[in-house]
Symmetry: C2
Subunit: 317 residues, 2 copies
């Protein structure tokens, strides 16, 4: 049922059997390269849509306040839209705006037929009720896939969500496009957030992996993780996953991105993942780097969801 | 964080360490007894509601066709309603009825203020679209908790489903009322149906267990199950789980009910679970029997959900 994954074959020649290994180096899963390929296919699809029906997909982003990280994420998303030929619009609201202000912005995008996807950049300031705001999004424009009805449809067998949340979808795309079998493999998801951990579990299970979810209350995360063929980490703790946590030959997808001050780096900081890369690279058969792994895929999946939303709206295939 | 479960203490005196053990017998989790206690408390709550506001909860059941097992389940549910003072109404439709016929019945119950819970007895005949029918149920009357929005709210942290599906809720109530800690324990759910396996996973995770889901594509279900402190089986395969699958001292909740012909039994058949009871009882610290384990709890939870729905409708607490 499950052949050897292509990337794992590369590695098994060097007979990985114990940790620390003797200099084995895992294949790097190049998220940027894979995402670039997806984005260029999206751009050509957008071009085909424009040529055929004179319409392009449109994404609206609602951002509240001026968090530096959120600004960077939003800028990257909008830049990626532009490069793919997707229209993007930003509604930037002040930090002390009311829930009604956001709902008004949201409603105007809901009523705008040139907007096919709407995303509310999270986290919101504490005085705002995230649940109420996200519930106000129509399913058809919820390109982040965070609506509970969408999540329920992702969870239930025989149902189809309109959108799969971008980061989990990106993680699984990385596995698939790297030739890694998921069906029947043992997977561990570290973290159970609504945005990453939970939908990643649901998606891996849809692909017929046998999945365990490790979280803050798990007593022996290291032991459980060491049994997995596939590990997806979204723990939010830099360098949490050491080499000793990994089964030799495992495939590791690292969702963590933690800026750490570093005056030697261009921007004064560098990014760390949840996984201790230098150790993991000696044990795993394949793993994603940080940066350049999951991050670019999240953006590519957002473009892909927005394109899908527009195709659905225009009944264009 | 996690003390020894009360039932496990009973057993550990006999130093369970390997399988087969020397005659150790697990504590039986008496679902019937626990369910009887819950039902009698529900009956007194219904009495209090009637005395205070002159209203009682009402449950409507929609049954299509004449499956023998469904008839038994429905009869048991309605009998339990009667005993608790809850009104129950049955709409029995012929096997060849149309989707519209069902939707019409459903709508009439939706519009009836004396009905607070509606359940569609599953499975439906193949010509009917179960998804479309279940989606037509309002969240407020979905006492089975099978609506995808309800499931999404069960899955997501920080959200609250209006109803928790009856069987999973019954399983977790059995654990809690038997003094078994869930938080931080390792749990395995065998099976991933929308009705039992999936919501049981979601509910155990809400209680902070570390949960793995075993299903038909799992390669080594025995090995994974043997690591669990808590095992919930809803596999639909009689006697699947042998003693060798279990960790000594584990707690086992058996959702399976398989009628097996047996001329020596009163009704010409007897019920088997997913678990080989005679073997499991020598390894586990506590387990549910079949019948008399989860079954009675499912009914008690249906009454409890119906009472909750009525309290919500009348703003009665």
């Amino acid at each position: 049922m499950c052949g050897l994954p292509i990337l794992a074959i590369l590695v098994r020649h060097s007979t990985v059997s114990s940790f620390p290994s003797n200099g084995q180096t895992a294949a790097m899963i190049d998220g940027k390269l894979i995402a670039d390929g997806i984005r260029s296919r999206i751009a050509s699809e957008v071009g085909r849509m424009k040529n055929s029906i004179d319409r392009i997909p449109g994404l609206a982003v609602i951002m509240v306040g001026w968090r530096k990280d959120s600004e960077t994420y939003v800028r990257n998303k909008m830049k990626a839209c532009e490069e793919a030929g997707i229209k993007s619009v930003l509604a930037q609201l002040p930090n002390d705006c009311s829930e009604d202000d956001i709902l008004k912005a949201l409603l105007s995008f809901e009523n705008d037929p040139s907007i096919h996807g709407i995303l509310v950049q999270l986290p919101l300031p504490n005085h705002l009720n995230e649940e109420r705001i996200l519930n106000a999004l129509s399913l058809e424009k919820d390109v982040d896939g965070f609506h509970p009805l969408n999540m329920g449809n992702l969870a239930m067998r025989g149902r189809e969500p309109l959108f799969i949340p971008c980061t989990p979808k990106g993680c699984v795309e990385l596995l698939i496009r790297s030739g890694i079998d998921i069906m029947g493999r043992k997977a561990v998801v570290i973290g159970r957030s609504n945005i990453v951990g939970l939908p990643t579990f649901l998606l891996l299970q849809r692909h017929h992996a046998t999945v365990s979810v490790v979280h803050a209350f798990t007593k022996n995360p290291e032991e459980i993780t060491r049994e997995a063929d596939i590990v997806v980490t979204a723990a939010g703790v830099p360098n949490l996953v050491r080499g000793s946590w990994l089964k030799p030959g495992a495939v590791i997808i690292d969702v963590g991105t933690h800026p750490i001050e570093d005056p030697n780096h261009e921007h004064g900081y560098r990014l760390l993942g949840d996984v201790c890369y230098e150790e993991a690279v000696q044990v795993a058969s394949a793993l994603t780097p940080v940066p350049g792994g999951v991050g670019p895929m999240t953006i590519a999946m957002l473009l892909s969801n927005t394109l899908d939303a527009a195709k659905r709206a225009y009944d264009f295939s």
